[in-house]
């Protein structure tokens, strides 16, 4: 046991001290944090608002088009041909020209620079809103506000509720569960691949450097294999925890030092309420904001409804269990070959179930409690990924226990099998063995 600890220590510290590990540990969080931060910056940087001068020959849009942070309207009655030559001097980015028409739904947007899609769609929406208002009042004498109030009251609220067998209710958000499940599954997939192949490379390194026989004369091959697998698992856990921690730290650091970039929502809300003063529809606007807040509240509620402690514990179990199950196979492959180029043929059958699981994950999120989802989350080859996908949707405890015990049994069986290949493989040099030879190794005594 002391010797396994020695091996674990060596495997862990030689890897953690490597430059590549340190660089990856720093680069990973920077990359992930920037994935979260950069879009916010880009959104803010595009913020330059466009000033549009409006010439409305019908008079129904004047002073009614809605401003927003990206676009502001001013109104004029200068003759269009004069406007075309002078709008830039006057400090505008474009002209919105709505010619006289019995149905004033045709407009032209003149500008030197190409204005963004956002500008175009905002103008369309603003015009649509006003033209509808105008005709409803003119033709049907309907007040828009009362319709809005009605719409608000008749809004359909469909809430999905999960109940367990005792009829106890839980909140549920399918989208959130899907995201959480896929995230967990994908992380496990990458972890198995990244660190499984590290195990394989470690074994090959020991073989090609010919240190293996020196080492196995002092310890059992099985101890060496397990020491390596556990050592590398700890490296993976260290890296994962550092990544989560550093990503969070970088993100928090940024949002603290530049709060103006991260408080976009409140800022927008202020603008909205300011705008409301200019519009008779402010009632409607407020109610929309309320409705939006209601949806946000629903998401927050469903986040709260998810039992994160359980998910994290189960995640850690499958994170480690899945890795251990596959790492033994990677170790066996490493022991059978002399160099990394020869591994292809043997790695493929090991990776096929993993890739299959990842492909099926999408399917499982659509039908998390179906027959296929059940079986894939029970069989150890796919269970680490598929069970993780299913967990946020809620899985009966007995299924989790069955899946976990099968993974443990699978791990023990895989280790037993891999150890038999490993102890023969590490001492064989020269030609690459065939599958048939490897099967023969299983029958060798010690």
């Amino acid at each position: 046991m002391r010797k396994i600890l020695l091996i674990i220590k060596r495997e862990y510290f030689t890897r953690v001290k490597k430059k590549s590990f340190i660089i990856m540990t720093i680069l990973g969080p920077i990359l992930m944090a920037s994935l979260m931060i950069v879009p916010i910056f880009i959104a803010k940087m595009n913020d330059e608002s466009s000033k549009i001068i409006v010439l409305d020959e019908n008079g129904i849009y004047i002073n009614k088009l809605e401003n927003n942070p990206d676009i502001s309207f001013e109104y004029t009655d200068i003759y269009i041909e004069d406007l075309k030559t002078s709008y830039i001097k006057m400090g505008y980015d474009g002209i919105l020209y709505i010619p006289h028409n019995s149905m004033p739904n045709r407009a032209y947007l003149f500008s030197e620079k190409q204005l963004g899609l956002g500008v175009k769609s905002h103008i369309q929406n603003a015009m649509k809103y006003n033209i509808d208002n105008y005709f409803m009042e003119q033709l049907f004498n309907i007040n828009r506000d009362s319709i809005k109030a009605l719409e608000q009251n008749t809004r359909i609220m469909l809430e999905q509720r999960k109940i367990d067998q005792l009829g106890q209710e839980k909140e549920s958000s399918t989208e959130l569960s899907t995201i959480l499940g896929m995230l967990g599954g994908v992380i496990i997939y990458f972890f198995i691949f990244m660190f499984g192949s590290q195990v394989m490379r470690g074994v090959i390194e020991e073989k090609t450097s010919r240190i293996i026989e020196v080492v196995v004369s002092s310890i059992k091959p099985f101890q060496l294999m397990m020491g390596k697998i556990v050592g590398i698992a700890l490296v993976g856990l260290t890296q994962f925890i550092l990544w989560v921690f550093l990503t969070f730290a970088i993100y928090t650091g940024f949002s603290m030092s530049m709060p103006e970039y991260f408080e976009g929502k409140t800022e927008n809300n202020e603008l909205v309420s300011m705008d409301n003063k200019f519009y008779p529809e402010n009632v409607m606007m407020e109610s929309t904001v309320q409705a939006e807040n209601g949806e946000v509240q629903a998401i927050i509620d469903s986040i709260k409804s998810i039992n994160f402690t359980t998910i994290i514990l189960i995640f850690l179990f499958y994170f480690i269990g899945g890795y251990l199950f596959y790492a033994t196979s990677f170790a066996a492959i490493g022991s059978a070959v002399d160099n990394e180029a020869d591994t292809q043929q043997f790695v493929l059958p090991v990776t096929v179930p993993l890739i299959f699981a990842l492909i099926m994950a999408q399917f499982v999120t659509n039908n998390p409690n179906g027959q296929i989802a059940f079986w894939l989350s029970i069989i150890p080859f796919t269970s680490p990924i598929i069970m993780m996908v299913r967990i946020p949707f809620g899985v009966p405890v007995n299924e989790i226990i069955l899946s976990m015990s099968l993974l443990v049994v699978g791990f023990i069986f895989a280790t037993w099998l891999a150890a038999k290949i490993y102890r023969t493989g590490i001492l064989m040099y020269g030609k690459k063995p065939s599958y048939r030879e490897i099967i023969k190794w299983l029958r060798y005594k010690n």
Partner: protein, 312 residues
């Protein structure tokens, strides 16, 4: 009878289509140097791996110090494998400590012993170098040190001299002899027959998975001697072939100045006294000695002559 430290009985090791060891029994006397000889692929390494408990035999028993070989004996054995190496990216000192600890030597003790050996081999300044910066010979020295760091009473060296230059080979030979003086028993396997003559007290010859010869080097030479003698006579003026008729076959005859050098093989019913008796009247004998076969000759004749193996 000498004290036997290691004894194997009818070891059989079977690989898929190949029997690596076929009822091999050897006895290694305590505090001796035991040469394990044989052509490539004969089964030496398989036997060594079994003694080191890296693999298990299919049949047969191994006794170490009178007990059946168990895992607790691993700590008493030091093994320098033929296929040997070190972790390339690790520093020499760090690695030496790691390998010593794997052998069960506590870190502080390992540090002290390593310091002694690094000084003895004049390699102290490599301590912080990475292994990949060392030449092959330098790595061999480090490996040798690590093999004996736990001061085992039983050592196995598989081709210890490969990769060493003549100077370092000599240093290594002296170290091996010193280890024996200090009470260790050493098995070593090699193709280098001159080192066998120099170092070994006993040998076993393995060919084609079977042991075909075992014993004291001196006994084996005695057993394989072929009544060959070399003699140098001054002022010899007879027809040597005629003189030797019925007594010996002249294999070599050379005249240099007034000296005649002869190599003869006596016929089975004649003795060296008889031979000398014939020669004595015809010149002044400056030397006469029996030619014992070299280990090299014994090796070659045994390995080539498969029929004689079956007689053995």
């Amino acid at each position: 009878m000498e004290n036997i430290i290691l004894k194997t009985e009818d070891i059989v090791k079977q690989y898929a289509n190949h029997r690596a060891l076929d009822k091999v029994s050897i006895s290694v006397p305590q505090n001796s140097i035991y040469g394990l000889l044989g052509p490539n692929g004969a089964g030496k390494t398989s036997l060594i791996r079994i003694i080191n408990q890296i693999t298990a035999p299919d049949e047969g028993k191994i006794w170490f110090k009178g007990e059946s070989l168990k895992s607790k004996h691993i700590g008493m054995i030091g093994y320098l494998p033929e296929e040997r190496g070190l972790y390339k990216k690790m520093k020499v000192g760090e690695q030496a400590i790691y390998l010593s600890q794997l052998k069960g030597v506590p870190k502080a003790v390992a540090m002290k012993r390593l310091k002694y050996w690094f000084e003895r081999f004049e390699i102290e300044n490599w301590w912080n170098k990475k292994v990949e910066e060392l030449s092959k010979g330098m790595q061999q020295k480090v490996q040798f040190i690590v093999t004996i760091i736990h001061e085992p009473e039983f050592l196995i060296f598989d081709e210890p001299f490969s990769g060493f230059d003549p100077i370092n080979t000599e240093i290594l030979k002296q170290e091996i002899l010193r280890l024996k003086e200090n009470g260790a028993t050493i098995i070593f396997s090699t193709h280098n027959m001159s080192s066998v003559e120099e170092l070994c007290d006993n040998i076993a010859l393995i060919d084609n998975s079977k042991k075909i010869l075992e014993g004291k080097v001196s006994d084996i030479k005695e057993q394989y001697k072929e009544n060959r003698y070399s003699i140098c006579i001054q002022d010899f003026n007879q027809d040597i072939h005629k003189l030797m008729e019925g007594i010996a076959k002249v294999e070599h005859c050379e005249l240099s100045g007034n000296k005649t050098n002869l190599r003869v093989k006596l016929f089975e019913n004649s003795s060296s006294n008889e031979f000398l008796h014939k020669i004595l009247p015809h010149g002044h004998i400056s030397f006469f000695n029996e030619i014992l076969p070299s280990m090299n000759d014994i090796f070659i004749s045994n390995v080539q002559d498969k029929d004689s193996i079956k007689v053995q």
